[in-house]
Point group: C2
Chain length 363, copies 2
Amino acid sequence: MVVHVNLGPRSYAIVVESGALATVGSRLRALGVGARAALVSDAAILALYGKTVVASLEGAGLAVTTVEVPEGEAAKRLDVAARCWDALLDAGLDRGSTVLALGGGAVGDVAGFVAATYMRGVNFVQLPTTVLAQVDASIGGKTAIDHPKAKNLIGAFHQPRLVLCDPATARSLPQREFRSGLAEIVKHGIVLDAAYFAEVERDAPALLARDLGVLERIIGGSCRLKAAVVERDEQEAELRAVLNYGHTIGHALEAATGYARFAHGEAVALGIAAEARLARRLGLASDETVARQERLLAAVGLPIRDASLDAAAVLDAIRRDKKARDGRVPFVLAPAIGTFRLHYDVTAEDIRSVLDELRGSPG
Amino acid sequence: MVVHVNLGPRSYAIVVESGALATVGSRLRALGVGARAALVSDAAILALYGKTVVASLEGAGLAVTTVEVPEGEAAKRLDVAARCWDALLDAGLDRGSTVLALGGGAVGDVAGFVAATYMRGVNFVQLPTTVLAQVDASIGGKTAIDHPKAKNLIGAFHQPRLVLCDPATARSLPQREFRSGLAEIVKHGIVLDAAYFAEVERDAPALLARDLGVLERIIGGSCRLKAAVVERDEQEAELRAVLNYGHTIGHALEAATGYARFAHGEAVALGIAAEARLARRLGLASDETVARQERLLAAVGLPIRDASLDAAAVLDAIRRDKKARDGRVPFVLAPAIGTFRLHYDVTAEDIRSVLDELRGSPG
């Protein structure tokens, strides 16, 4: 499946297909980029897919430098970005050159930031190897590194020239990481497309079994939904905030627990459960709308209750949210499956109340 | 004079008028930005204009944090940018907040880079206080910091929301810095507008005497010319390269002399003299076209000859030019005053030859 992201001069294709990684060289050549490229990845991912990607690039006549970064969030540090800039300069990359990110969301974030800022922006290609990165992080041009006091504080919008998703890579993910990625898929269904949500409900068992055909269809469907949002609001002025469904509380949960207790998708699942309940509390959503979201999250193995939730710490983290403007944080709420509404008047009491609900037993 | 830069959703106004700095608060409020702002500047400039700007901002109800950076190129370091990010976060700046750069090109470059990358981009306002920054650096959204091995290597395109040029600030500049800024004015005339070039020829004595009316008209005229180029090529894909006239050799001269010997405008003046001669050598320009450029540069007190030019060092620096693509550097040449042409086939021998000419006595 190929999804086109139409952004005028910054348009690009998202290719979702088994074996896509081996086609990167010829596809990149077809875009008319310069002869030099840097492949940014971590050791574990390079061991799995490095050879395939480098062979494809070199086979297309590109000179490739490999830049190894730490695994996970540790890659998103200013000193790592600085080492990448050094490596690009040493390898003679120029304004026509290309930076490729091979790996999960963290690699894409730091490599994208480096591509956005090296010589004021060079070509960037995303080769996401996790479900989370394939359906979310790799699309839309958000790049960032962390500040010691705030995640993703330093970054830029810089659209990729190409995104290649090989759904086969999802089959080698550890179980917890695979399931974490499904939270974004569920999120896309809830706020953007009721038919897609129903498709995920129906295919949940095959998805969990990592059936390749189902993976390709569901991942491709999520890419299509995210691309449509990005097309209509490239720089997250308003509409794009819809993608933050479950994330305002989810991010706060992660921050409040030092990014150590929950995988991102687990925090988002709890955030969705909480924000579903917020919509009900505010009289926007029915019991069944809440229950359907929680049932699907549970069906794909994601948490919807947590006895240790600390409402005070979560509220404190929300107040420091990057999306706050002069102190107010907008919430995305889902009045029904497939719809959303921005809500600016959620009170601390509302949030405390739904977090209290999540500390109880399911049901 | 108000010049409008039309870039769709990124459009902005350049206001060139005596006393403009004292109007920043009300103009910023009219743009509907958030309540917090950070003023980035150096100690010397803050002593001259800090009070005026802060009073105007506070008078309009904005909460202002002042962030002091080193003077000149020393501001364009990664650790300085990092300190700015820290200060913005500590002051609670959010996505709706504004970063203002008060000073010369270096302050604008680093503050612009910080504004481009803090929370993936916040509002940015340029308050340029040097002629160089007023007619060139503050317009067009180029921001950057330096890499230890290459100037301006790390940066982003990030358009300001507003540019306020107070021509009165030019009157307090040291003589050498004032004249350095005139090189960009002469450049704009040569490649973009023969009538403007003739106006600068005619007004050169009044310009050198820093007549306020003439300063406002000539600076405003240069802003208009640069804005028209930026409108047609926001990201320096091709046309915007015209603004590099005199700069390919000028930058190389600065790099080859460790950025210590020449002020930027002095290097650009020598670069213009060299590139004017390149056009003649390649059969594109007449003797008179070359002579007219050199006469005006000399009339405003800029160098057009230098006995110490090291052709080998300059050639070496050109090969490392950021504008090189797969090894080729494009030259902007002026076949006649008011016209330009991109030329990709300038040889090392051509460059050596014109640099040899510049080592001799004028005439």
